[in-house]
């Protein structure tokens, strides 16, 4: 078993798999190490599938816009698997004046970055999505946003990277990184030692422990998110939906089922008794989500819930990921802290990090997302 490669990637999620795909495409040898038994077992398979630009922090918005313009349109064709990508717009809904104020702020900041997003009134919202209830008084509308199937997209990147020669190892927990002559080189795992000229750490919250072995600490915490899935329904709409307070989101999948996420407000204090690598739902959340959904979509009251699921997001201190090289540790590349909105930018992150590793530069400015941005308050 060859344990040396140009790049060793820690984390077989959508970021790791995308990076593996774009790196092998450019002729690099790649090893991907995944701690769980399944590829894409963390946030990659546990998110709402949003591929959106609106509502994003200006620091990561350019990555989202780049991905939607250059990568998402041809991704299914490129990977040979239907990723169920839809570019049919995102409605961010408001029910109160306070909500509209939040939406206006988000819209102004995104417009300043060159994004086509605007505020629309209740009538226009109804024209775009006639199923919404009268409680919605306005929304922000970004016609170039959309959604895709995160489970399939992650596995499609894995499949293609594997075909291109990337070596994947699952059930292999990384313990620490080790430097050789000042440069990170070795990845010490439970059963093996791997070696790479570059080491990309894309292991979600678990990145924190791994990075601490070379003195790097990304300020973040874990937060549980929970979703529910309905049985297949007749086709209703293709837009991605969110709300001003980001308390509710979802879409109808190609399969016909609805995937809706939301919060109960108890997230930080709920008991999680799930198995290792598979967090459990709290009894309080899905009923709360149902009540929320029925307020927006009264027609769905008889839709049957077939499944609920939960996942942990790696919430970064300032709400955007840490990406790129770290000056203190040559050879190290970081991609973590995606804060619950990593899926939509994953292809762009994978592609741009591969460019950073191969060419030493990127098309999208990643400077605002560097590790060295964190400062104490005094």
């Amino acid at each position: 078993m060859d344990k040396k490669a140009d790049v060793v990637i820690i984390g077989g999620g959508v970021i790791g798999c995308a990076a593996a795909y774009y790196l092998t495409k450019r002729g690099k040898s790649v090893i991907v190490i995944e701690a769980s038994d399944n590829i894409g077992n963390g946030g990659s398979s546990r998110n709402g599938g949003g591929v959106r630009q609106s509502g994003r922090d200006p620091r990561e918005l350019p990555l989202a816009m780049y991905g939607i313009e250059k990568l998402w349109p041809n991704l299914s064709q490129e990977l040979g698997v239907d990723c169920e990508y839809h570019k049919d717009g995102n409605l961010r809904l408001g029910k109160t004046q306070e909500h509209l104020k939040i939406l206006q702020g988000l819209t102004d900041r995104a417009t300043a970055c060159g994004l086509d997003v605007r505020m629309i009134d209740a009538d226009e919202v109804k024209k775009i999505n006639p199923y919404l209830s009268d409680e919605v008084i306005g929304a922000s509308w970004c016609p170039t946003d959309g959604h895709a199937n995160p489970l399939v997209t992650t596995l499609a990147f894995y499949r293609k990277a594997r075909q291109q020669g990337a070596k994947f190892f699952t059930g292999e927990k990384v313990l620490e990184l080790r430097k050789v002559k000042g440069r990170v080189k070795k990845v010490i795992a439970e059963d093996n030692v791997y070696e790479g000229n570059y080491v990309l750490v894309a292991a979600g919250y678990e990145s924190r422990d791994i990075l601490s072995s070379v003195g790097i600490d990304v300020p973040m915490h874990k937060e549980l998110v929970e979703c529910l899935v309905t049985e297949a329904q007749p086709h209703m709409f293709n837009q991605m939906l969110g709300t001003a307070e980001a308390d509710f989101y979802g879409h109808q999948s190609d399969h016909g089922s609805f995937v809706f996420g939301g919060s109960s407000g108890m997230e930080l204090d709920n008991l999680n008794k799930g198995a290792k690598n598979s967090p459990s739902n709290a009894a309080i959340t899905a009923p709360c989500e149902c009540r929320g959904i029925m307020k927006y979509f009264p027609d769905l009251k008889d839709a049957k819930i077939v499944r609920t699921w939960a996942g942990e997001q790696d919430v970064c201190k300032d709400g955007v990921p840490v990406l790129g090289f770290v000056d203190e540790v040559p050879g190290l590349v970081v991609a973590c802290g995606f804060t619950g909105h990593g899926f939509g930018i994953a292809p762009a992150v994978g592609e741009q990090l591969s460019r950073l590793i191969v060419d030493g530069e990127t098309d999208v400015d990643l400077t605002p997302l560097r590790y060295d941005r964190f400062k104490a308050k005094i």
Binding site: N38, G171, E172, T230, N281, A286, K304, R307
Partner: protein
């Protein structure tokens, strides 16, 4: 690590079989051939097959086909079915209307 860890292990080529059109997951209409092909695409666990093809994601949540899917994957990989972990069971056990789960009507 375990028997499934090295995803580059050679499991041979996909060989079409006569019963590839047989429906295995009836809820989501997934055939035996699709499952076998997915194994050759690198989907080596029940969870990965479920996420890739939707086996066990329909109304019965895999209560009908789980054992069959497990057997097909194991055979394709040349391992014992006992080596494969089951997919995570998800609540609710039976499909429940949104208005019932939302507790707004008994």
């Amino acid at each position: 690590m375990n028997i499934l860890s090295d995803r580059s292990r050679d499991i041979g080529e996909f060989v079409p079989a006569e019963d590839d059109d047989m429906l295995i997951c009836r809820c989501e209409e997934v055939t035996k051939g699709e499952i076998r092909k997915a194994v050759h695409d690198g989907m080596w666990t029940i969870t990965e097959i479920r996420r890739y093809l939707r086996t066990g994601m329909g109304l019965c949540q895999g209560q009908t086909c789980a054992r069959l899917v497990k057997g097909i994957i194991a055979k394709e990989l040349g391992i014992s079915p006992a080596e494969l972990e089951p997919a995570t069971a998800r609540s609710p056990m039976r499909p429940v209307e949104m208005r019932v789960m939302g507790n707004e009507e008994a």
